[in-house]
Assembly symmetry: C2
């Protein structure tokens, strides 16, 4: 049976282990720390850092494929591994588009994919000139390394731009898209070119963090859903992605516009573990191993995923009792991470026919697990 | 988060790890060998043997609950652990009924549960006397340690009985039940007394090994299904079982009769991983941790499980490609065991509406993974 190495010991590697167990595939993870989310649930754990080529090289030894739990592995390290014959999937050339937002925008625009207008930013003037053309506010983004709302600034005036530019981070600017809601199209592509698309979902963000996913997106026209899936499959194909590709989208009056790309299992696909015959984690393994892709159908008309954010109380296990008794169909996924306020520490899934009820169930569990006082004020501190 | 210790490193512990990952529960396994099925997928593996009280004692240190991957832990060892304050679930008093078939028959008969007539066997005369009353053939069983058809003999004459008795194993005899088919009722019970029943399934055996499970059992009357579930819940309650209880049943003209008991995740419940919101492995963890039990509903009208038995070719991974391409909805579960002819090395699940088609799909995959020549003779050796 093949050995798949996943660089990074986060929750994505953790959940990939569940899929690897069923397939009999051996998952090796490179974790910074033995207490990392995936390191506590895998038998084959190597301790090291993704910023060290030496650690990566030692890790890759004996792996049939190396893949990624996150986008932070330096491109030059991946290229070095590739030059030494390590099979890295997605490869450095594709992954660059999930690592560098400016490269991504340039490439997607050249391919004709719908994107917001954008420009590189070196000085405050670059922002001001862009805003004079597109109107304030504008969105300034770190070109690399942003996530969960970090590295994104809504800038309303030159003075605000000056503050961000002063940070010295490589930046770009984009027009502020007037969108109805955010969607995500998750697809997989294998080396021999097979593609598979999951239903397009709606993602609901609060303060830049995804708090809820509804699968499929409610009231989405068949045409727009098909357009989004086709767009994601095309991007996967044109960028040579192998594995999963999550395309975060804005739904506007005129159709969908690409927001971000991720080339790994993605928060917008966590619903698949309980809501689809093929979890995104299994699909990613199948894709990087060049196995035929799995059924992307759904078990129920609706699946709702609610993210669990940490509250003040670090011990959420005692709160399992209420949630499980309250809702026997609730699926809890805990990442084994130390609980810190606002940190993503897990998620819940619920499946069924009645969407408003499912959303209420997911919200109840997410809030209760965070802090019972959010649901039952009389239990609050 | 609690630590659950599972004694035994087999596939049941392996699949329990998948459920433990989601719940954030730490699963520790006691494996004989680092290459054991569960030992290759868990982070917390202790090497030792279940026949050594010392190994068990060291293993239990720091576990919140100790539970079992199999029935072979000596009762006196479990009682010793219990006396030392280790929480063992199911406990020795309940587990005895899954370890000793004669004790089980005596107890269930006393409780009024429908059982075949039976008697203890010390001499060939015991068998002959029993057969003169009930007619040949009779079923002679090892009182302890049988599984997958091992330890069960259909005996047609005193000479055949003599051969079995000569083995020196502790034996019992039962009447040969004239049954239509075999069923299994899987339930869970928690320390605070909550019970939950999965739909009653049909199990299909070949040469004493389960080859197929159909969930729910086709054409089973609502009355018989409810009777079987009630019976299993009653047995769990009356024996004080905590965790899962699988009751293997014969369906006869007059209703159901108890065949065997198992107090752990069971082959007849492997369909739940893909066919129900709550897998039997998660349910077992919830029960032994005294968490509220999960939804035992189904995703689809039918789920069919096919066991994978080893063939001559030890490397079945190359055969994944055909099976996955042939059937994208097929769920493969491989146990990471060395392939040996006839050995249970995994199973497949398929879910859907069309039962004959599902059975054909499961059979195709089971046979192909065993030996492509069984499906495509022209590919045979």
């Amino acid at each position: 049976m093949p050995v798949v190495g996943m660089v990074g010991g986060g929750q994505l590697a953790r959940m990939t282990q569940q899929a690897a167990i069923a397939l009999g595939v051996r998952l090796r993870v490179l974790a910074e720390n033995p207490a990392d989310s995936a390191a506590t649930v895998c038998a084959d754990v190597r301790i090291g850092t993704h910023t060290s080529l030496e650690d990566l090289r030692a890790f890759a030894e004996g792996c049939d494929v190396v893949t990624w739990d996150h986008e932070h592995v330096p491109g030059e390290h991946i290229r070095a591994l590739e030059a030494e014959g390590v099979v890295c999937l997605p490869g450095s050339a594709a992954l660059l588009h999930a690592q560098d937002k400016l490269v991504m925008r340039e490439r997607l625009s050249a391919l004709g994919a719908p994107c917001p207008d954008f420009a590189a930013v070196h000085t405050v003037d670059d922002v001001t000139r862009f805003a004079e053309k597109h109107g304030w506010p504008v969105v300034v983004k770190a070109v690399r390394g942003g996530y969960d709302g970090k590295g994104v600034w809504i800038v309303r005036a030159p003075e605000e731009a000056a503050e961000v530019v002063a940070s010295g981070t490589a930046l770009m600017v984009e027009e502020c898209v007037d969108f109805r809601r955010e969607l995500a199209a998750l697809v997989a592509r294998s080396p021999h070119g097979q593609g598979a698309a999951y239903p397009v979902v709606e993602t609901v963000q609060q303060d830049g963090i995804c708090v809820e996913v509804v699968a499929p997106a409610e009231g989405l026209s068949e045409d727009t859903a098909a357009e989004a899936q086709r767009l994601a499959l095309q991007i996967a194909d044109q960028l040579g992605v192998v594995g999963l590709l999550a395309v975060e989208l804005f739904e506007t009056e005129d159709g969908v516009i690409v927001n971000e790309l991720a080339m790994r299992p993605h928060n917008s696909g966590h619903w698949t573990t309980d809501g689809s015959p093929t979890s995104q984690f299994e699909q990613h393994l199948r894709a990087v191993l060049d196995l035929p892709l799995g059924d992307t159908g759904t078990h129920s008309p609706w699946t709702v995923m609610g993210n669990l954010l940490g509250g003040d109380d670090p011990d959420l296990y005692p709160r399992y009792e209420h949630c499980m008794a309250h809702d026997p169909g609730l699926k809890i996924h805990f990442y084994g991470k130390e609980v810190r306020p606002g940190r993503k520490i897990g998620h819940v899934n619920v499946m069924g026919d009645d969407l408003p009820r499912l959303r209420a169930r997911a919200e109840h569990a997410s809030l209760y697990l965070r802090d019972p006082g959010l649901v039952y004020p009389e239990e609050g501190k």
